[in-house]
Amino acid sequence: MFDEFETPEPDEAVKLALRRIDEATARGEGSDADGLAFNEVVVNMGPQHPSTHGVLRLVVTLDGELVKDVIPVIGYLHRCKEKLAERRTYFQYIPIVDRTEYVAGINCEWAYVMTVEKLAGIRPTRRAEFIRVITGELMRIASHLVAVGTFTADLSPLGTAMVFYMFRDREVILDLLEELTGARMMFNYFRFGGVRYDLPDGWVEKCRAFLKKMPKLMREYESLVDDNAIFLQRTQGKGVITQQDVVDYGITGPNARASAVALDLRRTRPYSVYPELDFEVCTLEHGDVFDRYKVRMNEMRESVKIIEQALDMLPRGPVQVGSLRAPYVITPPPGSCYVGQENPRGEYGTYIESDGSRYPYRLKYRDPCFCNLQIFPKLLSGNKIADAVAISGSIDLVLGGIDR
């Protein structure tokens, strides 16, 4: 009857944390080295916790309120995507790729579709490329709204108004995408050689109307938190990612750009029609939590510029290669290919090995959050537990990508 009240046996991660405490004590670094009371506690945060973004489990070794060590345990959302790729045709797999980084579905589809197109030698149409850029950047704005909104919601649990405003405006973007693709989150929109649907009548005007409102909305968001002394105190100087960390751990995306590393795959490894568009790579210098938040806000403004240019330059023409429908069954020639793409969280790419059949032989994801999460132990140690929440929110993790 009381099974649920008993503490379960410690599993591997907790045993590792306890072992590390013992080793530190043996070396003389533990908190009872002075002969005082033993202070270190191993606490489990997650996999269900209000302030972790998804089912991430952190086994935290605490000394009072100070975090000594963090062991992230992942895999609670492992959905066997890489194995499923071997049993679905290339075309059947597109909806599954959507669900990797579910907050930024369009960008995930884009990386996969680009890889297969490169393997199979299909070139998308020019109008489709521009539509891809438009929807990709709209998704980037929506994804940053979720990222920054949930980050500020974590700092004081749903107490900030910012998350409500950001989700309100995200709904406008999802309306646009729903009118175009039919779905609010899992779009299944990209095809090999183009996109599935052309822009409906009046869509461009609605999009422009939304983009016109964006600067005012951005000012509204920033007015809510930028002058707040508590926000600044909790975010400035905390969780600094150095440039050596960026090189050592392969950190990409806004997390790297906040540390003055101008790594943006839209510029360093250009794809699609980005070479023809004029935008800046947003970087900041300190690499702390505040800068990561600011970089995402600045990127939203740059995305607005990109979409406006793309709407102006939108050419006429078909949105799919081929007569009426994109190829449903494709058999790329044997070979392998990796294409990385600038996802809102960093470099997201798929490595596909093909053996000439209808099914991929091996599909491997390069997920930005998986690589960014490796730095957690280093980043959180030495901070208070409340800072740990702020820092983990600023790294912007989506467990669907980490666990695949």
Partner: protein, 164 residues
């Protein structure tokens, strides 16, 4: 300030011939995959030395590890390393063959710290053992999972499905 990208740009053919010359003994089949990747194969005995030299090369230092993939090519396994060079802004994809009977290979965590979790995932999914890894245990699957799912001969076992 600090980290610059593409400070020593070189053409892909130059990079490929530079690598083919420097690692003439270790690399086979060096080729260029457009637009910016050099693909090469290497034997597993040479991996440790090659990794160190690749990172510390003065002209094309491959300082960042992007990902490591384990692949099961029925007759053998393969560990694929994808590394990035900041100076030339190009990539190198290194394929290392691992025999199926003894799937062991040296770890590269001493060279690229990012390899930690990537090697754990490759071990978890395909079963390649990275000798010298500080903490080689399963990362995505539960600790008592039996088998390595991304192998081609993996069969779904009842022990892995207690909740059916």
């Amino acid at each position: 300030m600090g980290l610059e990208i593409g400070t020593h740009p070189m053409s892909m053919d130059d990079i490929a011939s530079l690598l083919a010359e420097r690692f003439a003994a270790e690399f086979h089949h060096v080729r260029v995959q457009e637009p910016d990747t050099v693909v090469a194969r290497c034997a597993r005995e040479d991996l440790a030395a090659v990794a160190r030299s690749l990172k510390e090369h003065p002209e094309v230092g491959y300082e960042t590890l992007n990902w490591i993939a384990g692949v099961d090519h029925v007759k053998h396994f393969e560990s694929v390393y994808h590394v990035y060079s900041w100076k030339t802004n190009t990539y190198l994809e290194l394929h290392v063959e691992v025999p199926r009977a003894t799937p062991e290979i040296d770890t590269v965590t001493g060279v690229w710290p990012a390899a930690d979790w990537h090697e754990r995932e490759s071990f978890d999914m395909v079963g390649i053992v990275y000798t010298g890894h500080p903490d080689l245990r399963r990362i995505l699957l539960k600790d008592d999972f039996v088998g390595h799912p991304l192998r081609k001969d993996y069969v779904d076992l009842a022990e892995n499905h207690p909740h059916v």
